[in-house]
C-alpha cells in the first residue's frame, strides 16, 4: 500500500475543509496508511469552541474525531501556521502533533503520496 499524506489548508467554514477530511476518511476506510497535516488556515479547523450552527453549518468535530478511529495514524499541525494565527497546540480539539518546517519537509519525503486539499 502506498501511504498518503493529506495537507488540509482551508478554514473550517470553507467547504474544501470538509472535502479534505472526506478524502482522509475514505483512504483510511480502504486501509491506506494515511496522515493528515493541518497547515495555513487549515489549523483553524482545530480550534475549540466552534459553534457551527451559529453560521448554519454542520460541525466538523465529528469528522475530525473520526480520524483516529478510522485509523488515520498521523494527525499533525504546523507550528508556523499556529504561531502566525496566535494559537497554541493546547487549544486544539484533537491531539495533534506539532511539527516545524524541517519536520514537514521530512514528512513529505516520508509519505508515498501527498495531496494538498
Amino acid at each position: 500500500m502506498k501511504s498518503l499524506l493529506i495537507i488540509s489548508r482551508h478554514a473550517p467554514t470553507r467547504h474544501a475543509a470538509r472535502e479534505a477530511l472526506d478524502v482522509a476518511l475514505a483512504a483510511a476506510a480502504f486501509d491506506v496508511p494515511c496522515g493528515i497535516l493541518f497547515m495555513d488556515d487549515g489549523v483553524f479547523q482545530l480550534m475549540r469552541g466552534q459553534d457551527a450552527a451559529q453560521i448554519g453549518q454542520k460541525s466538523l468535530a465529528a469528522n475530525l474525531q473520526a480520524l483516529p478511529l478510522f485509523g488515520v495514524e498521523d494527525v499533525l499541525v504546523c507550528q508556523h501556521s499556529l504561531g502566525e494565527r496566535g494559537l497554541q497546540a493546547s487549544q486544539c480539539l484533537l491531539e495533534a502533533r506539532v511539527v516545524n518546517n524541517a519536520e514537514i519537509a521530512t514528512l513529505i519525503e516520508h509519505y508515498d503520496q501527498i495531496l494538498t486539499l
Binding site: 502506498k2 498518503l4 472535502e19 472526506d22 478524502v23 475514505a26 476506510a29 491506506v32 494538498t116
Partner: protein, 141 residues
Amino acid sequence: MAGLLCFHWVGFMKFAIALLAGPQDPAARSALEFARAVLSSGHQISHLFFYREAVHLASLLGVQPQDEQDITAEWRQFITEHRLDAVVCIAAALRRGVLDKAEAQRWERPAANTAAPWELSGLGQWVDALQSADRAVTFGT
C-alpha cells in the same frame, strides 16, 4: 550495466489525474493539456477524477460565447475519443447539482444534467487510483 540502464529507463507509466477546480478556472485547461501530453508521450491515463468544483465540468448545460473555447466540450471529446474512465465524485456532484438520470430519479429532481462519458462514483475510486497509478498529479488545488 543493464542495471544502470534500467535505472534511467522509466518506461511507460500509468497516470492518475485529478482536477479540483471548475470550468472557469485556468486549471481546467492545464489539466487537459497535461492529459493530452501524457498520451502523446506514450504513457497511459489510468484514471481521471473530478472533485470539488470540477464536478461542474460534467454538466451538459453550459453555453459559452461563440468566440470562446468550450472547455467542458473539449474534455468530453477527449474522454470519449480516448475511451477514458472519467469519474466524478458523486457526493461532490450531488451537493452541486450535477446529476445523471439515475440520481435525478432517486432524489426526485426535475432533470438530469450529466451523462456518459462522465460517471458518478465514490471517493473510493480516487483512493484506488492513487494506489494503482505510477504517478498521481492534481490540478486546480
